[in-house]
């Protein structure tokens, strides 16, 4: 299966697709929230629409001596990074940008989130967002290296950094099967850079809403939507790099990508209500002393297999 690069005219469609799936994720989260609160599920389903309507009518909030440019750049950074991430992900037979270094591109964009979340926390000149921004950086120091090596693993197996080659290399066997550690670490990395679920200390109630404590209106919407979009983009990338991309019986390739992405995304979204939030400072020791060696070991195994196969 070869991947062809579509013309730039399709970019809005790709963006719309990402936002649609992200909206579905938000709806799922709304349903789960409604179920755990014992409210009618249909109300939960409408959460994204209701929240959007509410936030778009709300006034933006500005604090005293805020660094508005930096705050705005940071707030918009999440959604921007998510949109730029999916640019390299093949959707069945099509891709927006067939980059030779797609894996590194994805990695560079998730590093951009270090800046985005910290800036969003720094901008308001307020205690809780500032603390939360620092928390996110502390967490990033723990998750980034394992994530990088998890990203390296499929690239080594496929012998290419191009996502189309990654998909092609999984024609027989999905990478998830023989690199499960890298897959799990990658998913954890996606959850972590989206500041979601167990890694949501930067946006959690522990710091009065964290980065979002002082933001309202469109600013708040951008960050909230950005997180769902990041989870979606991360899932789409995970499907491409580990779950065989468009490979599958009967259905066309693009539909397989959509189905797999939705399933992985649903699991990641559901994690939020299953796992407690981990404090960033407690993450450092397990991340560096347990997870990082494990991922390196996984990388070693994969490299040996690749060399042995010739």
């Amino acid at each position: 299966m070869t991947v062809t690069q579509v013309s730039a005219g399709w970019v809005p469609l790709a963006a719309a697709l990402l936002l649609t799936v992200a909206t579905a994720a938000a709806a799922l989260d709304g349903v789960l929230a409604a179920r755990s609160a014992g409210r009618p599920l249909s109300g939960g389903l409408l959460t994204p629409a209701a929240e959007t309507a509410r936030l778009f009518r709300q006034r933006r909030r500005t604090t005293i001596a805020a660094d508005l440019p930096l705050q705005r750049i940071g707030g918009a950074g999440l959604l921007t990074a998510a949109l730029l991430m999916v640019v390299v992900v093949p959707f069945g037979r099509w891709t927006v940008a067939d980059m030779a270094v797609g894996v590194v591109w994805f990695n560079a964009l998730d590093v951009l989130l270090w800046a985005a979340l910290w800036l969003a926390g720094w901008g308001p000149n307020s205690v809780h967002p500032l603390v939360a921004g620092h928390r996110f950086l502390a967490q990033a120091l723990s998750y980034e290296l394992p994530l990088m090596f998890a990203l390296t693993t499929p690239a080594v197996a496929a012998g290419s950094l191009r996502l189309g080659d990654l998909v092609a290399a999984q024609a027989g066997l999905w990478f998830m099967v023989w690199m499960p550690v890298a897959f799990v670490v990658f998913c954890a990395g996606v959850v972590a850079f989206s500041a979601w679920g167990p890694f949501s200390a930067a946006l959690g109630s522990g710091a009065a809403g964290g980065v979002l404590a002082e933001s309202a209106g469109v600013d708040r919407w951008l960050v909230t939507a950005g997180r769902y979009a990041l989870l979606t983009a991360g899932s789409a990338f995970g499907v491409t790099a580990f779950l065989g991309g468009g490979h599958g019986p009967l259905l066309p390739a693009w539909l397989w990508v959509l189905v797999k992405t939705s399933l992985l995304l649903a699991v990641l979204v559901a994690l939020r209500r299953r796992l407690p939030v981990v404090r960033p400072e407690r993450l450092a020791v397990p991340a560096w002393l347990v997870v990082l060696p494990l991922v390196l070991l996984q990388l070693l195994v994969v490299s040996v297999v690749v060399v042995a196969r010739g």
């Binding site: 001596a65 270094v101 590194v104 590093v111 800046a115 720094w122 020791v285």
Partner: protein
């Protein structure tokens, strides 16, 4: 034509952001101005077909500047919100030296009769870089890795006030609560 415009936009962004680093009043802005300058140069490398190195520059430098911002705020010892700051010494000689350097370098860039291009870029530059690193230029990588490792060790030795033996006792037995150091 399009790449021409993109290059000039990136060049202006890179230089303007570079100037901003030493002109703005806020440390966060200074650091992220530098990051912006790096991102512009990284994207300019993409125009020169250096995809891997361009994206790598963006990746490394944004990460570095995110940490740099923390250090700036940690060490500058003042309310960092938007306080006018001027912490310079010998501004005039520095200005003269840097302008002189620019004139010399620019004169060199314009006046030297550069030779014409020899050879053509490889079809797959990323692969060719990987092969160069793992074949003919392997010695470079073999040198770089111990240097990087030595850097990690040396930086930790310099920066750490107390090792884990201070924290956890000689047998590393005292598990402190919350994984935090006991004072």
């Amino acid at each position: 034509m399009l790449s021409e415009i993109v290059f000039w936009v990136l060049a202006v962004v890179a230089i303007a952001a570079g100037v901003a680093v030493f002109r703005v009043d806020s440390m966060a802005r200074a650091t992220y101005a530098l990051a912006a300058s790096f991102v512009a140069v990284g994207l300019a490398l993409l125009l020169l077909d250096l995809q891997f190195l361009g994206v790598m520059t963006v990746l490394m430098m944004v990460m570095e500047m995110a940490i740099m911002a923390i250090y700036m705020i940690m060490f500058m010892g003042m309310n960092p919100a938007l306080m006018p700051m001027s912490m310079v010494h010998g501004k005039r000689p520095a200005l003269l030296v840097s302008i002189g350097t620019f004139v010399v370098l620019a004169a060199g860039a314009v006046l030297v009769p550069w030779p014409t291009r020899r050879g053509a870029p490889a079809a797959d530059l990323v692969t060719s870089l990987g092969e160069a690193v793992m074949h003919s230029k392997m010695l470079v990588m073999l040198t770089v890795s111990p240097v990087l490792f030595a850097t990690i060790v040396a930086a930790l030795v310099l920066a750490l006030p107390r090792g884990r033996y201070d924290r956890l006792g000689p047998e590393l037995r005292h598990r402190s609560r919350h994984g935090r150091a006991d004072r």
